[in-house]
Symmetry: C2
Subunit: 433 residues, 2 copies
């Protein structure tokens, strides 16, 4: 196989034109869209319009005239088809952490009232830490504790008559393992538990079917595969049958039934709108909407199903190239080989024969790649539970090309064959000085 | 007095050049900075730089290279001198509602543990509703209830051995009444209660002295007098002696002691940093920083004390002009006449002799003024507690001119003398069609 192979794949790729929606730095191979998505070309002008015209000229009149009040629902309705739910079921607000607090709190309230003996929140030890922290905090309040499993296969056995909630991130941020939402939601329900899903690494990366797959609550992130910009607002969804069964505790005025009646007593809004809290962040929401629009532009080309097929082809090519071109260099795969269980990233552990277990080796490789304009990222392992340090490479099918994968693995091969990762010195930008 | 009088005041005003920091629509008299501050001229270019350069080109490297990680503290340190606290004591994050949830929860946790008999949260019935809703929600969790007083004078008598927290907005959003923070915090402490202050209508409007005046916790809004843009991030402050005495429940990863160690267990960060939760909203924070800088530009000219003196001169002129030019038109003052108790706004109730108690009269006057390019706002009363509908006019000493006050009252006089407010028809922008 030569570089002509990925070039031919790109030439034949019906989704390739979608890359033109983005401003990507010249010569940069960006495989970190699972941390921060790239800038859509439309965003700069749209944000400028909101700042200069809607805010600068329209001032408070823009809450109605420019539709600011409806942003949480309007953008929510655009995200809804990406995650398999209907219009009016999902709102954009706050951060992923804050939204998880809302939905997990509601789920625990329901469960603790109906079945006080259910005191366990089941999750993965390697779940994204903020999810575990929020669950730990709510556990203190609700008299619940976390039961953390080390392997995805152990999740069903961890569910039982003591379980209130199963809380998982659909694609594990470290390993890229894609959970079977349908099977695990069913297992949770069979045990009498509710299923709370974090879509941080799946919304916009692959087809998500919250309604069909039996999720009860979900949250997701705006700044990864939705390309909403650094710290973009997040979203929350609640199965409509549950939405009015509980209050969520962040009972701010935008979740009130009649926020502009300025009543002293709280009355939650109907449906999902009670999951709003404070005043929506208009500038950030405008940027997020541009990001979501880049995904909706894929709908005529096959939508999330087509993007998923391309994502799997990209990660499969990455895996094949590492096998064929980086053999014997100390790399092992930390992400699933099974297409059905792999998210949109490839993760590698690095334990070179020449320096077994050398602390910082994986970090140094990532930094050396960044110096060569290939951006992946490093996620630290944890000796206490046997997780290795990993190199993480995310592909974003909206803008990652097959030739990017080829070039990235070639740079990885060169770095591993060099001494660059052995004694690196880095400046603040992660570049070798 | 003629229009030459306010023009002379503007000509003699040492703070007048500060208005040049803003992009204010030509010919608009904007007296609603207490709802949404106007656009600083620097904001558009700064936001564009963040979007195009820091995000578009720097991508994830900007978390360190562009200082994104430090935004909550960097902007917090700029707000700190405006509210009378030291560097490192205040962080920018989330919305006012979410931050109030954090600090009120911490205050209630401390109080309920030390003195379980303290089950009362004292506040004003006319406090901004989101504050009451958050308190009601946390009250359900902590076994506390709200005791709401109808008159500011009744607050001290409402505090007692059953009181956990006194929670007030320093300047009441409807009446513009400025509470005596020092006296009321002392009264709370004398009763064994903690004092939680919302600075939504005071931070950036007048000198606030949280440390000297005995506040225990405070939150504030970024999009009113701080000119941070629609839905700008808010801030939270905790008296340093309390900061590490409690967890706050929104235990997200940015409030963790070592967020990038990705540990499964939560360990709160030292000091105020544990009041952070999710990933900071970078675009919105950049805009907020530009807004805060417009206040810091006043420091060489006397800072908040000079701005307060101008604010009082502006509202006094407004009051005097209404007395002298709108007499007998059915207006009464709903904001304090006493300079020491008046925030940065003038509020009027409208009950015309020709149509006593006519529903919607005050609203119609506000809309007729907007049609004449004078923007104040309307806040609905509540027949149940005797609050009248009000016309609310905020002055923002950074950019409101004395001649604006003159012209606004002249337009008000003309509207009242006309039939414009009697049968208005309005379009979505609040303009007469």
């Amino acid at each position: 196989m030569t570089r002509d192979h990925p070039l031919a794949l790109d030439a034949a790729d019906a989704l390739a034109p979608l890359r033109q929606q983005f401003s990507i730095p010249e010569g940069l191979i960006y495989l970190d869209g699972n941390s921060l998505g790239v800038l859509p070309t439309a965003t700069a002008a749209r944000v400028q319009q909101v700042v200069a015209d809607e805010w600068g000229q329209g001032l408070i009149g823009s809450w109605n005239a420019a539709g600011w009040m409806a942003l949480p629902q309007r953008i929510g309705d655009k995200i809804a088809p990406l995650v398999g739910v209907g219009p009016g079921e999902l709102v954009v607000a706050d951060s992923t952490s804050v939204n998880l607090f809302k939905v997990l709190s509601a789920a625990l309230s329901l469960q603790r009232e109906a079945a006080p003996q259910r005191t366990i929140i089941v999750s993965e030890r390697s779940n994204f830490p903020t999810d575990l922290y929020i669950a730990e905090s709510l556990g203190r309040q609700h008299g619940c504790t976390l039961r953390l499993v080390d392997r995805a296969d152990d999740i069903p056995a961890a569910l039982g008559s003591d379980t209130a909630v199963l809380m998982l991130t659909q694609v594990n941020y470290r390993s890229g393992h894609l959970h079977d939402m349908k099977a695990l939601s069913a297992a949770a329900h069979a045990a009498g538990a509710l299923a709370v899903w974090d879509l941080a690494h799946s919304a916009g990366a692959l087809p998500v079917a919250l309604a069909a797959d039996g999720a009860d609550y979900a949250v997701g992130c705006g700044y990864k595969y939705l390309n909403g910009g650094p710290g973009a607002p997040a979203f929350a969804w609640v199965r409509p049958a549950h939405a009015e069964r509980a209050w969520q505790p962040l009972a701010g005025w935008h979740g009130h039934a009649t926020p502009f009646a300025f009543e002293p007593g709280y009355q939650p809004a109907p449906g999902i709108n009670r999951y709003l809290c404070g005043t929506p962040p208009v500038l950030a929401m405008a940027a997020l909407e541009c990001g979501v629009d880049t995904l909706l532009a894929a709908q005529p080309l096959g939508g999330m199903a087509a993007l998923r097929a391309k994502s799997l082809a990209l990660t499969r090519l990455f895996i094949d190239l590492v096998h064929s071109r980086c053999a014997g260099q100390g790399l092992t795969f930390a992400s699933p080989d099974d297409d059905a269980r792999r998210g949109s990233q490839v993760c590698l552990a690095f334990d070179p024969d020449s320096a077994p277990g050398r602390a910082g080796a994986a970090y140094a490789v990532v930094q050396a790649l960044i110096a060569r304009r290939v951006v992946g990222d490093f996620r630290a392992g944890d000796a206490r539970d046997g997780l290795p340090d990993i190199l993480r490479f995310g592909v974003t099918p909206l803008y990652t090309r097959f030739v990017d994968v080829w070039d990235a693995v070639e740079q990885l091969r060169q770095v591993l064959a060099s001494s660059e990762w052995r004694e690196p010195r880095f400046n603040q930008r992660g570049l070798v000085t």
